[in-house]
Symmetry: C2
Subunit: 464 residues, 2 copies
């Protein structure tokens, strides 16, 4: 529908009005716009916005939207542009609304363990400031240059979800600007609320299609102990995945449990001078723990070693130095860039019930064989979120699209869904009908219209 929607023209008069709102220094109509034409999605078709505006705050955004709504101009919000689903690509031209100037950390509240910041602040800056106050924000979506608002818009997850959950679980309140130019606030410095519809939770993960998130209040925790690692090899992926419930039944909640197979380790070794300890096993779990001191870690490691060995593990590797630990984490962090350099055709982050991971990866291998396209799979064994990357030469790209459909269908047939943490953006939007019934799609569409009747907000993303 969005594509058949009639949008208005961004006339020179409108550009003059936008200039008056944000100031001449903060509007681009010529050069520089190319930096706002894409995000970090591979193969996403970039598209130049007609104009880039960089408002200083919610009030300016309200004025911009008032104008855009009146004249039906598409508005694509943009945080740090680190998304990988094409969510910030101004597909239909119009206005790219960049939050890059809205980086203020407004309050770190040490009594109520929460912080409020403008949506454009980078996760990096936000976390360092929080830590200066003796508190901690544990979400780690893997990209510390992402913006806090972007994390909220996509409900970013990451490697620490077993213990901490996802962005949704930490957001207490939001300020947002509606398409009509109205500024609303939702939630506040409290966990409990049963006071009308939870707009906070609805806006989280809506990828800028319902409103522009301008300010975020998140819950903080006290800083955790030191991070420790266990690398556990298995004879089969199925045994590795089968071990996870046994680990989680101990009274030690890991921060994360990652799974990986031999292939990704080999790729990392081929492309770097990194060497993996305990080489040559078909599958591994990487268990990340938090411990208050070495004594607690020894108790935890002893307990989990025994559990893993009882549940099919061949061995357990405990890095015995900071360097060995760093080496292991570096290898994990290299998965994505290694795959990127290997001819990555696409990205998927299917989520399935965690007990189904092994079965899902089996199906992935069948599909990979059927299409004759290599697919690397690894990810979050503790929460069922699997990263999948078809790899090959450019000529295989068109065919990889059908492979993607097959991957998604396999995940959904096992009780899963399309995206665990990346969001749909424009690239994955077409797959949503695989996971959502026509009734649900129609309902989401009505919700979209309830917020944004002229469909000016991030058109072409998530839902029509």
């Amino acid at each position: 529908m969005a594509s058949t929607c009639k949008y208005g023209t961004l006339t020179s008069g409108l550009i003059r009005s936008l200039t008056e709102i944000v100031g001449e220094k903060f509007i681009l109509t010529g050069e520089g716009r190319e930096n706002y034409a894409r995000d970090e999605a591979p193969h996403s078709i970039s598209h130049l916005p007609e104009v880039v505006v960089k408002p200083a705050g919610a009030k300016e955004i309200a004025d911009i939207l008032l104008l855009a709504n009146r004249h039906k101009i598409p508005v694509t919000p943009r945080g740090a542009g680190t998304g990988i689903s094409g969510g910030a690509v101004p597909d239909l031209g119009g206005i790219s609304l960049s939050l890059e100037r809205m980086k203020k950390i407004l309050e770190i509240d040490e009594d109520n363990f929460c912080a409020t910041a403008e949506a454009g602040v980078s996760l990096n800056e936000f976390c360092s400031e929080v830590e200066k106050h003796g508190l901690y924000y544990p979400l780690y979506p893997g990209e510390m240059n992402s913006s806090l608002g972007g994390n909220v818009a996509t409900n970013a997850g990451g490697m620490r979800a077993v213990k901490y959950g996802v962005t949704r679980n930490f957001v207490l309140g939001l300020e947002a600007v509606l398409a009509s130019g109205e500024i609303i606030r939702s939630g506040g410095k409290y966990i409990k609320s049963s006071t009308g519809y939870n707009l906070t939770q609805l806006l989280i993960g809506s990828e800028g299609t319902l409103a522009i998130i301008t300010e975020v209040t998140v819950k903080l925790i006290i800083p955790p102990g030191s991070r420790e690692l266990l690398l556990v090899p298995f004879r089969t992926l199925s045994e590795a995945i089968g071990c996870v419930p046994a680990i989680l039944k101990e009274n030690i909640l890991p921060v994360g449990i990652e799974f990986m197979e031999q292939d990704i380790f080999q790729m990392v070794e081929e492309q770097s001078n990194k060497r993996i300890p305990l080489q040559g096993y078909p599958a591994y779990l990487l268990i990340m723990l938090e411990s208050e001191g070495i004594e607690e870690f020894h108790t935890q490691a002893e307990c989990l070693t025994s559990v893993c060995l009882k549940n099919g593990a061949v061995d357990v590797f405990v890095p015995d130095s900071q360097r060995a630990k760093r080496n292991l984490l570096d290898i994990r962090e290299k998965f994505y860039p290694t795959i990127q350099r290997s001819g990555m055709l696409d990205i998927a982050d299917v989520v399935v019930p965690r007990s189904q991971i092994a079965l899902f990866v089996e199906k992935v291998k069948e599909i990979s064989q059927r299409f004759g396209i290599k697919v690397v799979a690894y990810g979050h064994a503790g929460d069922g979120n699997i990263h999948l990357h078809p790899i090959g030469s450019q000529k295989e790209y068109p065919r990889s699209k059908d492979l993607m459909v097959a991957l998604y269908k396999a995940g959904i047939s096992l009780g899963g869904t399309i995206s665990g943490e990346h969001g749909l953006g424009k690239d994955k939007k077409k797959y949503l009908p695989l996971a959502a019934s026509p009734e649900k799609l129609a309902l989401m569409s009505r919700i979209k219209v309830a917020f944004d009747p002229n469909r000016i907000l991030n058109p072409g993303k998530v839902i029509d």
Copy 2:
């Protein structure tokens, strides 16, 4: 608007159709309907439904709603009827849709640590079944006869929110029937999802006004250790509240931290043979802990005792027997019935940022004096949720309405909101405009219409 909406008439033809759907045994049109005319809200005006239907599952509910929607008949869903905001009162007559037959526990999934049940199951039955499987559902909204679906519909909270949060934090997926009779599923056995709008989170806390929740999947945890208590007296409430951040900064996350003042203890003592330990102090914190064994508890108790004494506590009482612990919990559980017997005029469960509790209670006392109506306040110091009860004779009831407005305004002025866990139902709906801007109310109203264009679902509740 709801009240000016034109509803249809429940003709004998329609009642025949409803009878065909649920079967003669499961429809009431005469006697017995009085049991569906109210919930447990004090002073809520009861209203007889024209008909009570007791469907066996989502399919029957879909058929009922299809009919009701076509003929614009109000439908008031009902779980266990234990709500205290009038949410299940069929204000406009029509159909009372009772989920009392939908009590099946469909699956307890030990690998994925989750369980799925029909919405009508009681929390009591659900929790015992879960525990049989070695797992645990930690939500405790204080009423174990409430239904799981009712908990979801109101986003029930309770005394354990400091550690576990509220119902919203445990729901992974839902099945629900839309007003149009369409059955949708949302979420699943996974924590991570960034796949379209989060309908699960939107339906949680919507009090039956958006859809009828028929099935719930919740996250489970491994059973916690034994529950332990510390009772900590202070010279002022302000000192007690001021101590909370210091407690939470230790590496011991209490399950809950409750505050209470002398008056409520005196009331309990006057009405029962219970005696409170460490009598005669103006204010107390009751700290609830979970410990793996006595050794851990001793370490925790020692640490928290030292923190409390350093932060204004006069003393720390640690019950030294199961009986002493039981006595203390019994006293806490008696607060509500004691107040009920003392001429409770109303109930509020305002939530404020937890650092503002003392200031809020001070304002409550000023308001109480100004109106000449006693107000008892106690509640959840760890999460800012305060229970307030104006007490007096029936002749003070009309005046207590203005007092309620003053209480809500005071809470909102401190960054809080109307209801932390009870929901708005019909009784508190009128206060929503105190907390939500006209823009936000209008948006909620458009969301309501996106789900339920004929406004048949729980009309007169939450929002028009």
